[in-house]
Subunit: 470 residues, 2 copies
Amino acid sequence: MSLEEVCAEVLGRVTPSEEERRRVYEIAEGVKRRLAEELSRVGLEAEVRVEGSVAKDTWLSGDADIDVFALLPPSVPREALKTTFMEAARRAASGYRQVERWAEHPYLECPLNGLRLNLVPCYRVEPGRWLSATDRTPYHTRYVLQRLNERMKGEVRLLKAFVRGIGCYGAEIKVGGFSGYLCELLAIHYGGFLETLREAAEWRKPTIIDPEGYYRGREDEAAEIFQHPLIVVDPVDRGRNVASAVRVEKLSLFIAASRMFLRKPSLKFFFPPKREPAPPQQLINAIEARGTSLIAAAFNPIEAPPDILWGQLYRAERAIGRLLRKNGFEVLRSGVWSDEKRVCILVYELGAGRLPGVVRHVGPPIWMVEHSQRFLEEHLGSERTLSGPTLEGDRWVVYLRRERRDAVQLLREKLGDGGVDVGVPRLLSESIKETLHVCSEGEIPRLCSKYVGFTQFLTDFLHGRPTWLE
Amino acid sequence: MSLEEVCAEVLGRVTPSEEERRRVYEIAEGVKRRLAEELSRVGLEAEVRVEGSVAKDTWLSGDADIDVFALLPPSVPREALKTTFMEAARRAASGYRQVERWAEHPYLECPLNGLRLNLVPCYRVEPGRWLSATDRTPYHTRYVLQRLNERMKGEVRLLKAFVRGIGCYGAEIKVGGFSGYLCELLAIHYGGFLETLREAAEWRKPTIIDPEGYYRGREDEAAEIFQHPLIVVDPVDRGRNVASAVRVEKLSLFIAASRMFLRKPSLKFFFPPKREPAPPQQLINAIEARGTSLIAAAFNPIEAPPDILWGQLYRAERAIGRLLRKNGFEVLRSGVWSDEKRVCILVYELGAGRLPGVVRHVGPPIWMVEHSQRFLEEHLGSERTLSGPTLEGDRWVVYLRRERRDAVQLLREKLGDGGVDVGVPRLLSESIKETLHVCSEGEIPRLCSKYVGFTQFLTDFLHGRPTWLE
């Protein structure tokens, strides 16, 4: 298929049908009206508007986020957002399943069939006078809407679908990728979908995109201020990088996928085929054939918003990786999987799960008289000393019995108390302390049969390759 | 025992008896007379003199080197040293077992019971006009003799016995330690045995000793010229470092032993107890208990002077160590043993003799467009690729099947042709090509039963600790 054919086919699939549109607008308008009524009933003066991708007509078919915003005057106390606003919102959305969210900011989420409805409070303020995290949204909506015609809405949808297909869609911590607003800005700035990919293929580190030219001629300054690998200066706030959530890995993935797509256009960038989850025993055989060792640490999730949970999971993954390396294990790769409800699993592929019994321990150079003497005294009498002390060059060296040869045992020992002192974040450590289960490849089939999503994850983990590279 | 008691006891043991003296001088004078006669008979004008430790009366009882020197006029062609002189020497030493040596310089060696007789040619030249490697010797003898009284001869003997006891005696490449002349200079310069040890305990790197003050006020220059860890400027040749053969390991050993002896005087520094060679199976059990792997490469020695043989052995030891490390093996320690006649054995203690089946291979950063593309093309199609390519940070990474997992097999493969391309020196590579036998711990008992000295070596190797530290 040519580039044009792929784009046409994708556009057909991701543009909402008239029927979907009707349903979405109906829900949006209904909730908007009811929320306005409820707010006025409790005496909260507010303008209620539909914002986000529904307002901009850039959502992907089957994946709408209906954002109904209440713009409140700055005089409303913050506390009232959690109380008065949320009560009104709950009433306005009665009849829908409701989840209250308050990470940084309170809002009400209602998951519907194939779409999500969000009732969100914000303050109506002048640009730059932001009082809460969502105050910029109405300005974002207006900025984007003014710059999109019908063709450009399609270009935005193509870019969003591409970014979603390669696993880079979403500014939440779990993903660390591109928000919808970022996709819109890129498509507008470069003038289209393919134009964005062609530019991305050439991006350098750091890439600075400044649609309104706030830093024109002072790009170095922007790089200095934001310190992120991708910098897209928010047209409605010169002090904000719209791409601040984009991790270097996801940025790199986007660049690599852009190059590959332009070279070899294919639908699989947009609609990646799911790999068939391998039967657990086949996974184990694959690991054994590799001649490496796979260990897993499983524990219960914590009660926290997903951004908190995933932030702590990634930090724990790194901390435990450091712990393994510090104890001499070769960590080839690691990964995190969680269904956010029943279990979190950290996975490490190690060169070997069991280490040699001897550690080479290099002491001070002979020229450091006191240190040398202390080193000799310490190791001559120790029953951990297997060989030496001996001189290698001008340094004392001893060969010590390794204290922890087994990776599973090491983790059980060091994480048994939650692992705070090896760097596991606090909230997670509570759960680890109570529910940790560490196992090696032999027990992994049991984990797989308990958690189907984990089998899928492990299959992808072992392939370790984006599907668009297959 | 106190320092004084130890020194007195040692002095008693290393000072030659009247009877030993008589025998040594008798042999020396007899050979001197006969060599003079033989040289005059073939028309070589020469002064024949006894040099070295016998002339200086500083030899250690039971370990005399009788050096009979013929001082020839510079007009004698170098070729004549190998022909006319050696013929005369052989006749002068008739009745003794004879070994011709010509490493740098030809001479005749006659091993006798408990001593060695050497018939050595040199040129009688002014200082600085050296024509051959041994021309300085008569000047060395004169310099030392003029500075030794009876007490000081004892001090020199103590120092030599100490250096010998801790395994640092000898400037030959096998040892890389202190020559007899170096010991004499140190004892003279510092005024005695204990004085030398007290100074050595405080040596810094580099230590510059310049008895005649040739570099007074320009010590940095001497350090720059000689580039050795210990610099002792030859009183008879300001361009020569008497300690140039001293390797940093032996220097460090001497310093460490000096400190320890002064702290805890003991006879074992001078007369180290031999460790009982462990039964081979016990050695193997010890290695197994350590949880490491021991491999040995055995091959025939080459026909070459010991300095050549040992120089090449040490270079081969390092080259093969590099080869193992480059292929991912953790080399904990290595050692060389040879009886110089039947076999040479290189020994490596490895963390593991078999490696994981996967190698992590880090590719180019995404920013290098061409490199990235080539990397993808290379690894996407390869059947060595087990996982990936994937992005870690901004770099491509693949996980490849390791080609050589087994250390013994690696050495067999890479040394089968002599190993010149991995850095084995030429002469040795010939023998390795023809006679190499690589084995792991299982076969080591067979090597031990064939070569008793090797069992002793392996026992010491596994202890890996100087006996004076026990």
